[in-house]
Symmetry: C2
Subunit: 576 residues, 2 copies
């Protein structure tokens, strides 16, 4: 199933599936490609607009990257291209360096895709995919929800036909509010109708198609192409009434042709200032891509290789940079559609790329009369499905630390932008994790009568011995919590003059670092000075291996016991 | 033993020991105070010189802080005052803002003591003592060793009688080397003799005194006062030959009198730039103080309260700031001497303060002819005992992550100074800890024949079932490692078509955060989609409490088993 190249060589998963490629696979892939192409055309145009780029750039970013991903990707069904959150992050990063709409803006966006591609490729070749694990789910959830709200707010001005700016939610809403006297009625009418139609497509089109006789699956897939209908309808309407002459902003002239050959700006100072945004875009894109890839692969008992995905996404972004595109990643919605439509192999991605290529060759003149407000409506409907306040409620019930991380990420992202929000969320969740492990649960345990089990004296009725203190440390011992154990033992020894033995049950200790080893040595020494013995029980193999490389066991005043019960019995006998 | 004030009130431990104060306690405390005073006079002068301050400031810093500590401190024997590492950090921090020797320099040092006092007091009242736990032992060890080397190098110029600067080890050594043509012979002779005498005092004086008939303990204590002999001898010699006239730098005129009433500079911009150094000084001072305090308290089965120690050290530093001193903390060497000399209560500290007060009132004229080179020799001998390269060897053998932390702290401190070294060390050790827990040990377990034990299939000969995958996760499940479990299970499911059940043994899982809960839900869902069941066994009480607050258990495709053996038996029976 999964023959691998030597670990130092990037694998070419395409060699695996291409070998068994057959006619019926081709047909299924082609059908899926048609549906995904219809879905991807409006998305590509809209996300280019969200990123502040000309619409054709969105089409270009949906050709070469798909071809490269088909060659390198380990997921059978992932569909790459522009996605909402990454487009928002692109706009935020590029906006620092150039004015939207300028040639420099596009050149910086291309450079950002190039850097992001290099970073992803390097992470993949160095097998650094684990970096993405430091984005906790609360942080991702808070970030995605905030991004959805920011994106929706950023489209308000286009829906209303006003000019407004703003770098955070409050600024954006205030700027639009200040322009409330200048709302363009016809634009608002087109935008609102597009919104209403698209929301109806989401809810009402599938039942309607089913009532009209389509199978549930066909109806569901056809409904996914609904945005195309909105775009065709709005374009025809705008052409018919000559909306541009009435002041409705249109997409306008879109160059017709193949994606151009481009290159990034070779400017080291620019690279340095784009490094952090490129890293964040890479990590966020990778996380989105790998989540959907894993979920879909598991449904068919397949799997994806996260490090190979990094290589494939890196290649896709490099391809975007050299073909006039901007940062791309595997999109959630379109990959699910690809899967549901029956795509079997990445060849579906190749066919999709061909479809988009035809669109950019032939279709662009037809886009002249497409109102920007309709694209904005497409974006708003897509991103509002990302907004999920349920995570706040769930984490509030489940764990306050996680709730704090969601809330902080959400608030900082809304107030200070996507990059600050991510950095604050990751930093805070790491601190909260460290804080929690630095406050370990240490239970005093005693024997459950009639068994060999030892449980917390505060939760159970258990038998204890006055001369023996048995403690179970519920955390790996490391520098941030080693002193908590010292404090606990010091306190117990000072309070109980009859104490003669301390037994540390180590079943939940997965590691003991050098600081904790020093602490254990200090505890052992102090107990010895005070005439007490320190014992360990149920030490795990890997921890025991480590302890045997130190002097600790030679100085230990007591013994290491295989089970806690053996220790308790032997000490009870010795103390009479 | 340990009556406590309400938790929101700072306790006054002095009320406890003062109640039982008796005549024989008084005599023991007084004797200890005499010895500590003799030790503290040269140290106070030397550490003031190390901090770039006039010698009398060292004496002032050893009066009021001791009185406050005696009132507030929870250790019976801790001796506070200027210490080497904190003095070096003071010099580094204050040197950024004023020229050494200027009035502004002293004012900034006083402000630093004030801020450090406020920080310590706040940490104590807010019970934030755990912050100090994030200084791991490898970081402390690397930092102390590097500081010792830096301090010794900084005294070279004084020992040789040349002018030289430098902010790191290489710069200091290079600056001294560049001045090698200007070495002052008589200064070098005095410095070298002082060094030789002090090293001999450390090694040879105690045996000599024992041969002369003193008891070993008396000989040991008398030897601790050796530096006073060096200072008296060097002063008399320098006076006799009028060394000052021959170009030997002397301490010179030291004001005679009580510690002055001073106050910090009320300058918010200065406070802001001193905040980080003050925080680092506070944490380092607290760690040094609490380590020695705990070690000594445990020897008499007493204990100290870390949060109360913060309050006491905060008060001591505020006292230093208002009485012409600089940052102080509990010193290692002098506390051990105090303990060995038989100090019973903090009253010994009060008597020591009185002794130093007399010295600053009466003794200062006698210090005029004291050569600075002799003070430098005192410092060098004291700090070289801090240098410990053994930690490098021990951590290399014990754990490479800890070794990396020691080495990085050592190198960065030597190359870029004390503050960078600490920050780099703490940051690196946190990252290494996170990295380790993000790469958890996940063992596949099987039944040890004839027992109810389940062990790692790679370490033991065990019985497994083809339809059941039993995994033991040796780490709490949190965001950074949750995906590792997903990957492991995905891989196993893809490789073993016969698999029907996955059982996760949770005995070493001390927490499951919201990300890990999502991962478990995703694993459960994917296994269900592929026709497999997920089971948990041996889930701890606190973790079970948390899971019951979520939906997870309702969606779980398998069961939660009390013991792993029950799960294995039931699944074997079910699969026939």
């Amino acid at each position: 199933m999964n023959p691998r190249a030597p670990r130092w060589l990037p694998a070419l998963p395409a060699l695996v599936w291409a070998r068994d490629y057959r006619r019926d696979t081709l047909l299924r892939d082609a059908l899926a490609a048609v549906i995904v192409t219809l879905m991807l055309i409006p998305q590509s145009l809209a996300y280019a607009q969200l990123a502040g780029l000309p619409p054709e750039v969105g089409l270009y970013a949906s050709v070469a990257p798909l071809l490269v991903y088909a060659l390198l990707g380990s997921s059978r069904v992932l569909a790459v291209g522009p996605v909402a959150v990454v487009s928002l992050m692109t706009a935020a990063a590029v906006g620092e360096h150039a004015a939207a709409g300028s040639a420099a803006y596009l050149a910086v966006a291309i450079t950002l895709a190039f850097l992001s591609g290099l970073i992803l490729l390097a992470m993949g070749l160095l097998r650094l995919g684990f970096i993405a694990h430091f984005l906790s789910h609360p942080v991702i959830s808070g970030f995605i929800t905030a991004s959805g709200l920011l994106i929706a707010a950023s489209q308000l001005k286009t829906l209303l036909g006003v000019s407004a700016g703003g770098h955070n939610l409050v600024e954006m809403l205030a700027a639009v509010w200040a322009q409330r006297g200048h709302i363009h009625g016809l634009t608002l009418a087109i935008g609102a109708s597009s919104l209403a139609f698209l929301f109806w497509v989401r809810r009402g089109l599938q039942p309607l198609l089913q009532r009209l006789g389509l199978s549930p699956r066909a109806a569901e897939l056809a409904a996914k192409a609904g945005p195309v209908a909105a775009i065709v309808g709005a374009t025809v309407f705008a052409w018919a009434i000559d909306a541009g002459a009435h002041g409705v902003k249109l997409v306008g002239a879109v160059p017709q042709g193949l994606p151009p050959l481009t290159q990034p700006l070779w400017d080291v100072a620019l690279w340095q200032s784009l490094l952090v945004p490129a890293l964040l875009i890479s990590v966020v894109g990778f996380v989105e891509s790998v989540s959907v890839g894993q979920t879909l692969a598991a449904k068919r008992r397949q799997r994806i290789e996260p490090d190979q995905e990094l290589v494939a996404l890196g290649g896709s972004n490099l391809a975007a940079a050299f073909s006039g595109g901007f940062p791309v990643t595997g999109g959630f919605a379109r990959s699910v559609v690809n899967f549901d439509a029956g795509a079997q192999t990445p060849a579906a991605g190749v066919f999709t790329a061909v479809g988009i290529l035809f669109a950019s060759l032939l279709l662009t003149p037809a886009l002249f009369h497409l109102p920007q407000a309709t694209l904005a409506a497409t974006i708003v409907v897509a991103v509002l499905s990302l907004v999920d306040f349920g995570m706040l409620r769930r984490t509030w019930v489940y764990a306050k630390a996680d709730f704090t991380a969601v809330l902080a990420t959400l608030v900082v992202t809304l107030a200070a932008g996507v990059e600050s929000g991510l950095v604050a969320g990751v930093g805070l969740s790491l601190l909260l994790h460290l804080w929690r492990t630095s406050q370990p649960h240490i239970a005093e345990v005693g024997q459950v009568p009639g068994t060999e089990h030892y449980r917390n004296v505060q939760r159970h009725t258990v038998i204890t011995q006055p001369a023996v203190l048995a403690l179970r440390m519920d955390e790996s011992l490391y520098f941030a919590n080693a002193r908590a154990l010292e404090d606990r033992i010091n306190a117990a020894v000072a309070e109980r003059p009859a104490l003669r033995h301390v037994v540390l049950q180590c079943s939940a200790i997965n590691d003991i670092d050098a600081s904790a080893l020093d602490s254990l040595e200090a505890i052992n020494q102090r107990l010895r000075d005070a005439g007490l013995q320190l014992h360990l029980s149920e030490v795990k193999g890997p921890v025991m291996d480590k302890l045997q490389r130190s002097d600790f066991l030679r100085h230990l005043s007591g013994r290491v016991w295989l089970t806690h019960h053996q220790a308790a019995c032997a000490l009870a006998a010795a103390e009479g």
